[in-house]
């Protein structure tokens, strides 16, 4: 009965606008989308990390070869990209855990948390770059 009334009052064929290019997004939305993007990037990055773990453990020679290979700018960039995605994804994930505890759940709190997460992630990404180069 309730569902029937709902169906008659809400026209299911209303136009839907999900064109992200025409919507002005709040900062929390950018933080959320970047969390997804970094997650997808990380899934691919795991292959790089496993490759490195494999080479680092197989033998002393492969360990040395890996260390040598890390001087290659292409590898350095790939590893930096993976570490950047990891840093961002971790910070955004920790933000979720903090919000799960009931901290920063208001509109302002969410926006402040989003800004803090972006700043911390940016610092970590720069530090990762410093570490590699």
């Amino acid at each position: 009965m309730g569902e029937k009334r709902c169906n008659s009052t809400v026209n299911k064929n209303r136009p839907v606008n999900l064109d992200l290019a025409t919507i002005k997004l709040p900062i929390t939305a950018y933080v959320s989308i970047l969390h997804r993007v970094s997650g997808v990037v990380l899934f691919a990055g795991v292959a790089i990390l496993l490759c490195m773990l494999d080479a680092s453990l197989e033998s002393a020679e492969s360990f040395a070869a890996l260390k040598e290979g890390l001087q290659n700018p292409i590898y350095q960039f790939l590893i930096w990209g993976t570490l950047a995605a990891l840093a961002y994804h971790m910070v955004a994930g920790i933000r979720h855990l903090i919000m799960d505890c009931g901290i920063g759940e208001t509109l302002e709190g969410g926006q402040t948390g989003a800004k803090i997460a972006l700043v911390i992630a940016a610092v970590l990404i720069v530090l990762a770059g410093v570490w590699i180069w």
Partner: protein, 122 residues
């Protein structure tokens, strides 16, 4: 609306919990590894091998690997069910999504098996 048949824990509540527990496990692993590398003066093959030879580290690594598999499945499921939808691309979206999930599932299992081979193969 998307049916939840391909979700990991077959319930949003389980997925929510698994996503958090696995996330904490992986974060602990990352923080530990970065800490180890930064606090060990000169990480050579001997130090590195010794670290990964201990049962503790192998268990920690395996927990991280399994966490990764569950975490990635739940996360990618959320992404796929949001973007490969019938509203965006018609009825072929379901077929496309299931194929994509199968491919990603194969990659995930490959990561786990490969990781186990690395951890117990040196």
């Amino acid at each position: 609306m998307v049916t939840a048949v391909t979700s990991f824990g077959r319930s949003g509540l389980y997925d929510w919990m698994i996503q958090r527990v696995s996330g904490v496990a992986m974060a602990a692993y990352v923080i530990f590894l970065v800490g180890f590398i930064l606090t060990t003066p000169d990480v050579g093959y001997a130090e590195w091998k010794e670290l990964y030879s201990s049962l503790c580290m192998r268990v920690f690594s395996l927990v991280t690997l399994l966490s990764l598999a569950a975490h990635a499945w739940i996360g990618l499921w959320a992404v796929l069910t949001d973007y490969l939808t019938n509203r965006m691309m018609g009825s072929k979206a379901t077929v496309l999504r299931v194929v994509a999930q199968m491919a990603l599932g194969v990659v995930t299992v490959t990561y786990v098996v490969w990781g186990i081979e690395i951890l117990w193969g040196f």
